[in-house]
Point group: C2
Chain length 223, copies 2
């Protein structure tokens, strides 16, 4: 294994361990020593990749946004739906995504800047809505950034409610209901009629996204 590959693997091992430790103890109570024990790496290896606990948490927060992107669609409103549904699906299945979302909503983590994921997701959704607007998919009154922020904030709460009530079993249904309440107010009816808003949309998109990633297709290619 090349030296660089090994470094990337070690970094992933440490991140996965940090995700688990933050999830179990919360940000405030978690320590670097917990992460070292969980990862089974040396102090030197950890500090080679991460400077501090805050640095580790920021990396876990950033990780949830990466690695898997919904396929590009001709209809940009569908891509907004798919991006949202993919994240919902990953919450059910991916410990790193769960850990990132928990950290984001950890109001006890007062020393940690948790605004990053909210802002990054707002950028993603705003970008997609801009494209949708250019293609004439949106109603004329829509204020892109307000709508994007609202979708991101509402999603965070709906996932939390789903976690508290059903441990994510009903997240697909809940996110579909959220989108069904919001989209008719921002999307042209003639566009909306062709958008797939089913509760199981996340499963389909996830399978597609994994296939594209494994085939090495770069994010942003049209499916």
């Amino acid at each position: 294994m090349a030296k660089q590959d090994r470094a990337i693997r070690t970094r992933q091992t440490i991140l996965a361990a940090a995700a688990k430790v933050f999830e179990e103890h919360g940000y405030q109570a978690a320590t670097i020593t917990d992460v070292l024990n969980e990862a089974g790496v040396t102090k030197g290896a950890l500090y080679f990749h991460f400077q501090s606990k805050d640095d580790l948490a920021q990396a876990v927060l950033a990780e949830q946004d990466q690695m898997l992107v919904a396929p590009t669609r001709p209809c940009k409103v569908q891509e907004v739906v798919d991006t949202t549904m993919l994240q919902a699906y990953r919450l059910q299945t991916d410990p790193m995504v769960r850990a990132g979302v928990r950290l984001t909503l950890d109001q006890q983590a007062i020393d940690l800047d948790r605004s990053g994921p909210f802002l990054r997701w707002t950028e993603v959704i705003t970008g997609l809505l801009e494209e949708a607007q250019r293609q004439g998919e949106l109603l004329p009154h829509v204020v892109l950034r307000e709508t994007a922020e609202m979708i991101v904030g509402a999603f965070a709460g709906v996932q939390s409610m789903s976690q508290a009530i059903s441990d994510y079993q009903d997240i697909g249904r809940r996110v579909a209901i959220l989108l069904r309440h919001v989209l008719p107010n921002i999307v042209l009816p003639s566009v909306l009629v062709s958008v797939d808003l089913s509760a199981t949309r996340g499963d389909t998109v996830y399978a597609e996204a994994v296939e594209l990633r494994d085939a090495g297709v770069p994010a942003g290619s049209v499916a």
Copy 2:
């Protein structure tokens, strides 16, 4: 002071202390001893009112729903708006409400049943929407419980985003934007046109609610 008054006061002191301790340490790390130290009461006094840490947390969770109710309105959609905006306003100002919401979203608190507030708020909003439907304020397709659950879940996330980004400074604006995206899809346009959805609605409703409470007017009286 009558014996009963004193007991109520002691209970409130303990609850306020518990709210502070849960907010600072999170549910998992908080201990009964922390609460005793913060409240300055005897162990006997605490255990007279609360059996366990879980019992204390449940009482803090229940407290956010009580004590202050939005005035009853002839237009039930306005009452939904007012109930939501009042809660947003109280998050800015009331430590007990903050503590309750933080506990509700504390995904580290794995031993604590955090579904209560989601379910109770869903009941409140469903009840108001039922009245709105009886009065002919809603569009015919609305599924009351789905809409109520969606509003409650989305509110939880929007408040969390506001807390992370602005420490609740922009919560009124964010909740108004949420409601502006959702209500046109469930309320008759002829009703919606008279609903006050301004970002400062919470301030007005809070002042009214405090006045009614201090005047001893029971909840449920028409304003």
